[in-house]
Amino acid sequence: MKNIFFFLFLITVSSCTKHYVATEYKFKEERLNPNLPSDETIVKIIQPYKDSLDKEMNVVLAVSDTILTKSIPESDLGNLMCDLVLKKSKDYCNCQVDFTFLNNGGIRLPNFPKGNITLGKVVELMPFENLIDIMTVNGKTLDTLFNYMAAKGGWQISGARYKIKNEKAFDVFIQGQALDLNKNYTIAVSDYLAQGGDNCTMLSYLPKTILKKSLRDAIIDGLKEMNAKGEHIKSVIDGRVQKLD
């Protein structure tokens, strides 16, 4: 059947009374730049909150040699977070964990600065109280998970690697071995994602062991350990997630 298109210029005469009609608008954005002065009233309200907060939050946890940046499909910042969560999850549960992953929305800062990393900075990076769940998941479910991460443009990961093309995952390796659909794996995952957050629904109904430690605890403890050993934060993009289109 043939479609016929008409352009109609409508003139609506809806009422006889006079109304105000928005005939014009002007737009601008006020950028809040570093040179703006501060309003004294607001500063006074903030001050007591700030004073007691700073005491807690200005503690230095570790030192970073470079500025780290959030990006997809892989980032030095995401790698650092996932590496620390994987390492500490194993310590907390005293068990083998094959890999961990993190949604991009779970990284709440665009950058992690060079130099001193304070507790406050880690709270900004990972403000949520999400606990770590340890789960045993079969290869088929993980195949769904990796494809989901691929469709999302690439989520951050540690203990595994994968490539993305046409929003699908391929060349999935876990602990250096190709993903085996008939095998079970142990993963560490934020309880937010484990419960289907960010529409990560393939894990929702599977059994999980909830650790009494949060992802933020893992990052804090991991950084403290590095610092105690005199190590600086060094994270690089190593090609663990590659997008081929």
Binding site: F5, F6, F7, L8, F9, L10, I11, T12, V13, S14, S15, C16, T17, K18, H19, Y20, V21, A22, T23, E24, Y25, K26, F27, K28, E29, E30, R31, L32, N33, P34, L36, P37, S38, D39, T41, I42, V43, I46, Y49, K50, S52, L53, E56, M57, I67, L109, P110, N111, P113, G115, G120, V123, E124, P127, A151, Y192, Q195, G196, G197, N199
Partner: protein, 305 residues
């Protein structure tokens, strides 16, 4: 003195749309009205400016800095409406430690007129939100969440009408699907309803029953998505009777408002100012008194059979 130069500078730098047709004469004669809409979204507890640590947004934002701007604008403009589009909370230790109290107090001090609710405003649960409400002197607006039988029942308004002399501005809010985004224990029994259908219902009420001259939707559903998910773009195309959609959630930095033709072929604007209070959005609307429709030729409408 420094303050003044900033304001003037940014005014000339700001985008001026369709300036050529601006009816200065009518404005001078007193037949015109001007309303200044100021807006923020996704403040994410960014109380202080981003620190000078080499980060992408270093030095930007800050509540005390925004308050200076607001005071300047209020000195110059008679009719100012200050709105927020939700996700006020979550992002700095201020929220983890004080549960959102400071954000609400400061927004009240800055005389916010209304806000809507973002997904992260559920992060301390419904009781946590209700607990902080006494610190907010402004209403929270939402018309597509059903709060019946929850602690928030009766504490959220669907809309509010603001009157400036003989101009009426109707403001309402819509929120994003919470299932799959917010932990179930945080949003409890709050039920999500179709944002577009409810927005159109509310806008029609405001425009025709309440006789509003300008209808503004505060939308925390997000500007647009790669995946199939309802967005401000969908809302703009399918809407009727909304003049301005102030958006949030996707942290999108618009360089200017996007103009869309709505379901009636009329113009609807969408704007969003990124996140963290890096920008204060400003739209100055000029109104002329005329017989509705007569002088306004409609936009071309595509009719297919």
């Amino acid at each position: 003195m420094k303050r003044k130069t900033f304001i003037q500078k940014s005014f000339t730098a700001g985008a001026l749309l369709a300036a050529s047709s601006f009816p200065y004469e009518a404005f001078a004669k007193g037949d015109m009205r001007k309303i200044t809409i100021l807006h923020t979204n996704d403040q994410h507890s960014r109380i202080e400016p981003f620190p000078m640590d080499g980060g992408k947004f270093q030095g930007l934002g800050g509540f005390a800095q925004r308050a200076v701007l607001l005071n300047e604008i209020r000195k110059q403009e008679k009719n100012v409406l200050l709105l927020d589009v939700g996700d006020i909370w979550q992002g700095t230790p201020y929220f983890n430690k004080y549960g959102g109290e400071l954000e609400f107090k400061l927004m009240s001090e800055m005389k916010y007129d209304a806000s809507t609710i973002g997904n992260h405003d559920f992060d301390v649960g419904l009781d946590g939100f209700v607990k902080q409400l006494p610190h907010a002197s402004f209403p929270f607006l939402n018309c597509n969440y059903d709060f019946a039988d929850t602690p928030m029942e009766g504490k959220i308004q669907t809309h509010k009408i603001f009157k400036y002399d003989d101009i009426k501005v109707g403001v309402f809010g819509i929120g994003i699907e919470l299932q799959g985004l917010v932990p179930k224990e945080s949003f409890g029994g709050v039920r999500y309803n179709d944002p577009i259908a409810n927005a159109n219902k509310m806008a029609k009420h405001l425009k025709y029953e309440q006789d509003c001259d300008l209808v503004i939707c505060l939308s925390h559903i997000g500007y647009k998505y790669d995946e199939k998910k309802v967005s401000d773009m969908d809302l703009a195309y399918q809407s009727k009777n909304i003049d301005l959609i102030l958006g949030g959630h996707t942290h999108t930095f618009f360089t200017k408002p996007e103009e869309f033709a709505n379901a009636d072929g009329a113009k609807v604007l969408v704007n969003q100012v990124g996140w963290a209070g890096i920008y204060l959005g400003r739209l100055d609307f000029y109104f002329e008194k005329k017989r509705k429709g007569i002088l306004m030729p409609g936009t071309p409408q595509l009719i297919s059979k």
